[in-house]
Subunit: 353 residues, 2 copies
């Protein structure tokens, strides 16, 4: 391999052609492994490629082929472990199929979400995996449909029939949480969530409510939903406790809510699970190393990504048929933060490191 200092212009296919004494078309064929080239010429091309350190420009290539091997991924934020893992997996899966992944964050803005999709369209991506800010009935989704893009939606989806969707089975997981809390004797639970994530919040809330009321009709379920930011949620929660409300357990429908709850407990000097129990949707690494370890619903992140890519490539390859709505099962880890209302810690059922 020839390492030149810092070549101003990269060698193009024509440079290779003239160095090898053949035409550009021949070089192109050699690069693609077409068999109808004489071995002698193949060798000369390879030599020239080696000498010049030639690498083809994939974008130029794809321009001519009018098909870009690019998959777009749009998530509400990069900062969370959840979406970070999603992007990592999608990148892996795309590359595995010879595609490049281009990721963008909508920063929880539907306006931006739509702009990003327009950009992806301009880039002529082959397909898009979209984790919408709110749900799949958004300007961005409408744009995708109108402009004929192929894509799948993940995470915050309603599972209506507009797109292929993949998400965690929030309702089932919430039902399991309900069983655990009811089983431990809780009859007054506060549920907190962010309304902005309408799609998931709804499933998580109703899944919980239905199961809880089925098991304990006398159950009291309070709900605090804040529209679009955690700050008002924090305020409402402070207000709620300030008024003397004293549920025996809090169920947070999203990760940041769990943090808000913990910090509010902290302010008041309450300890889990003696003073109050806590379960959160979404697991994080730190939850098993703190005192107490925090009970959480673990989403099948990697599986969601895998299924999304599978479905997406089926569509890219032209599969027709009605859109599917996949629900992937969660795991619920009941850790020390959940106990019985009496004040005793719940025995056993640690989550084994």
């Amino acid at each position: 391999m020839a390492v030149q200092g810092a070549p101003q212009r990269r060698p193009s296919i024509h440079d290779v052609a003239s160095h090898a004494g053949v035409s550009a078309a021949t070089v192109s064929k050699v690069m693609q492994g077409v068999a109808t080239v004489k071995p002698a010429n193949v060798q000369r091309v390879f030599d020239a490629v080696e000498r010049l350190g030639y690498r083809m420009d994939p974008l130029a290539s794809e321009l001519r082929r009018s098909k870009r091997r690019i998959i777009g991924a749009v998530v509400p934020e990069f900062e969370s472990e959840f979406f970070g893992t999603v992007i990592t997996e999608l990148e892996r899966l795309a590359e595995q199929r010879g595609y490049a992944l281009v990721a963008a964050s909508s920063r929880e803005s539907e306006t931006r979400e739509k702009e990003i999709l327009a950009r992806m369209h301009d880039w002529r991506v082959s397909g898009v995996v979209l984790a919408p800010v709110r749900n799949e009935r958004s300007p961005a989704a409408a744009f995708m449909k109108a402009s004929g893009m192929t894509g799948v939606m993940i995470d915050r989806v309603l599972a209506d029939n507009a797109f292929d969707t993949i998400s965690a089975d929030s309702a089932a997981a919430s039902a399991e949480v309900a069983r655990a809390l009811v089983g431990n004797g809780h009859r007054h639970v506060l549920v907190i969530g962010l309304g902005e994530h309408a799609a998931t919040v709804h499933a998580r809330l109703e899944g919980f409510r239905a199961q809880a009321l089925a098991l304990a009709p006398d159950m009291r379920i309070d709900v605090i939903l804040s529209e679009s930011d955690v700050a008002p949620l924090r305020a409402s929660l402070r207000d709620y406790f300030g008024k003397g409300e004293r549920p025996t357990a809090v169920y947070s429908l999203f990760l940041k809510g769990t943090l808000v709850a913990l910090s509010e407990f902290r302010r008041r000097g309450w300890h889990c699970p003696n003073d109050i129990s806590l379960v959160g949707f979404d697991d994080a690494e730190w939850m098993q190393v703190t005192f107490p370890a925090i009970a959480a619903v673990v989403q099948p992140v990697r599986r969601i990504a895998t299924q999304a890519m599978d479905l997406l490539f089926r569509r890219i390859e032209g599969e027709e048929g009605p859109s599917r709505a996949l629900l992937e099962p969660c795991k619920v880890l009941m850790r020390e933060s959940v106990g019985s209302p009496g004040g005793g810690a719940r025995p056993g059922a640690g989550d084994g490191q």
Copy 2:
């Protein structure tokens, strides 16, 4: 805006040209706002654009201009809050300048890191922000230099003069940690880290050691470094405590190490800060809501990203001159996990909120 059902072929500049009854060159000029076009024609072009829903293909455009408005970003992982924030900021800053950000993760592999850089080069990106797996003396960096790419390095850098580098001032922060621990009476501290991140680990360790020994020459500093994975670190730590070693404080040089330490304390039933104190490099949201709140060094993530983009664009715009090595100051938050060796909790100095 004409919303067609699902156009098979997107309109090109030629389609617009023929619909408007002008040449493609004229359309191109109108799109770029060149003034030498008759108003009547400008109007006709705009009409045609509107009617067809035309949007230019930026990649085709940039092919001709042989300059792609793309910035590459390479980080070791997407899952962490730190790199998530970095990517978010870089994306924002790139877009602000009319560039698109293409992010990729090296997944802590130097081999992959190099491959990604080759891909970025193939894409003819204008510049790269690289957060190297180990440090800036890597195959990837050599490749960048050899192929004349312009780029800056962040985070795990040695600050030698090969590239522009930006990182947190680890040494200064570590010195501050040392002052705090010594000030609280600690004379036996265990430092844990991952050797793979050689660049940062070294600065953090030596910064701590130098300051600690300067203040307390009798200080005993034990060090456990694991090469490339946390698992062996966990094992070593278990072994270390198992042998009866009992430092009064642990200083973890990286986030996951803090988790390992906490989980090991947990296994042994030790509580911070009564049984042992803990400080970690890298802050996380959860650290201020747990009991105890965990003391941590807060890196100036956004500032690092901003400076990186600034320097990068200066280079892209042709600025010459020797490479710089920027060190951005950290903040050290001494929370409840640090106390005095005697066993008493350290009074005051909570971190607000």
